[in-house]
Symmetry: C2
Amino acid sequence: MTHDTQTLLLELFVIFVAAKLGGELFERLKLPAVLGEILAGVVFGPYAMAWVIPSSTVLSIAELGAIFLLFTVGLETRPKDLLKVGREATGVALGGIALPFLFGFGYMELTRHPVHESTFVAAAMVATSVGITARVLRDLNALDTLAAKIILGAAVIDDIIGMILLAFVVGLATAGGVQWLQLIVLIAEAAGFTIFMLFVAPRVMRRVSPNIGRLSTHNPQLIMALTICLGLSVAAQKIGLAAIIGAFFAGLTFSDFSPRWNLQPRVEAINEFLAPFFFFTMGARLDLRVLTPDLITAAMIISVLAILAKVLGCGLPVWGRGREVVMQVGVGMTPRGEVGLIVALIGLQMNMISPGAYAIVIFMTAVTTLFAPPVMRVLFRNRVAEQPQPEIAELGTSLERDIRTGLAASSGKAGDSETNG
Amino acid sequence: MTHDTQTLLLELFVIFVAAKLGGELFERLKLPAVLGEILAGVVFGPYAMAWVIPSSTVLSIAELGAIFLLFTVGLETRPKDLLKVGREATGVALGGIALPFLFGFGYMELTRHPVHESTFVAAAMVATSVGITARVLRDLNALDTLAAKIILGAAVIDDIIGMILLAFVVGLATAGGVQWLQLIVLIAEAAGFTIFMLFVAPRVMRRVSPNIGRLSTHNPQLIMALTICLGLSVAAQKIGLAAIIGAFFAGLTFSDFSPRWNLQPRVEAINEFLAPFFFFTMGARLDLRVLTPDLITAAMIISVLAILAKVLGCGLPVWGRGREVVMQVGVGMTPRGEVGLIVALIGLQMNMISPGAYAIVIFMTAVTTLFAPPVMRVLFRNRVAEQPQPEIAELGTSLERDIRTGLAASSGKAGDSETNG
């Protein structure tokens, strides 16, 4: 093949291996794999060892990775789930959006950053990345607790509102500040798009879905999902939103059909291939020269604010449930992840934030993600003691189910008595 | 996101939809979907309607598509399968390689094409694309016939030898004609690579495979397969072979583990996303201005030679099985596909073949692919009559299995008596 392809394949191979080794190393240290993939980008990227200087093709593949990442997040988000813990989850989500944005914006403004930079950094502090929390909860066998249900419900609303907020921020930036007419048009478009995707698209899907299976194409459901993912990404861009918003809503539209059509493992496979390029290049964009003592101080303050804002903002709405649930929900909502990173990336690409502010967001993402898991293990420590031994969990017999059910029942009671006490 | 990403996403969306609509249309006309995807590229590409002029990023993604295509082919190839019909399948494969190459090379030389162009066109005529045949056989419920088993066994050998041949042709071209020392080194490297992948790699995999599941990374088996796919593609390129050869051998190495690790549907999903870009850009590269009456005549002659060479070359080794099996095997081996197209693409990129010769290969691929299915339906017509009704096939009960088994048993006898008669 051509010289370009030769270089490209080698580049893809080196990035893929470096990212996955970083992820594996972090997993073994009981740290989130995503941070290992980002760190690999920092270490091997242009600002440190300079082994890999991502080409424009790799950066494009990385952005495709971001689209499939949000498509997967959407696929795994069930709007129906939040109905079960509806009101409390909504309160938690709203508190967890308002406070981080206010804290972030306030601090950035106080330290005399430009308004657009403050807005982007604040927006990057909003969206919870519930993936890490969900994994810790699963490891602790605590997915059936009240706190877990509220966290997962709130994360759905959080994602949706986070996307809408991103739309506004990007619109603000595109409109170049306060050009009111353009901004109003954009807000109307974003609102229209969101309402359409949340209320009209599901009905269209219910009507259309039986016909998709009748197509003669191989794997028609997967092909249709990929088409809609690409199509809505383009549509979102066309009306001035970020492409990932379209991809997220595309995932949301297919989430009800995902189990029946076996979409999740297959889209996840595409994601497994593309996402490492996204996380690696996120790290590779981190200009280490901006890491002055002042910036590190600012990054640490922002990180502490990001944690406090979620603990308070998400904890207060469940105050009546007792201190344990308050802390579990508050801490469980702190990890930031892909959405925040993408907000920062868009800001960097649009020259709306400086490399320094970009570094602050990466730092904040790392700190919040590292903070939550160990603290959650302490907060859910009753669960750890009750957790079935791995040997039992792997039995896979009816005996095991009985044991698990018994444990769940007894721990459910224990949880109730604690909440009442 | 940046302007580049905007354009790229729109481009990817348009290509994906156009390719898939072309495929769907062809499927409904009972024609191979792949040809519809290529035709979409011809129609919307730069030489006809010029709606899409593939950017360099899209061409890179298309080449990634070729790599995953061959990785999938490798995954679905079981070296063990050919042991069952070993000697006959080997004869069929060798005959089906020698004759097409000789016929193609001879005709191109007679019509005074340069040696390197003749070599590439001849090499593109070699590899059977058994996917279309296998699908027709499945539709006809004839996968359990002797002819089907020989075809599928021969296709495995055919793929492997086709890959080795491609390695030599690329090596010849890289060495710039007859630079003997370079050529000998390359042949040694290609042979070493092939022997290593066929005999050493499977043993390494058997040793290593239990440890892969112990990695902490999510989906460790898929990640390992993707890593090896990218790594062997790079390795193949480094020693002067085509990247797809590495991808094919990577697939072959994992083929034994594919069912247990559920690799096939997941790699297939990546392939479903990337392959349309490969086939579309194959079509988009077809310069319609080269289609002079002379070229069309040449393309038709090459196509007829491609069919005759496979029918004779694959039919003769099974002469003792009677005329029906001879024709079934001969015709079943005629379709050419992705391997031939990639050979032509590499030739075009290396300036080893002219746009005219590239057009001849595309034309030949289309003709052989269109020729086989209807003729096979006639040759296997006894099977069509015996095929269970779709309603029965969809029952999915034990009754259905009984009916199918009964049919298979009775038709097996019928097949035997015909062969003897």
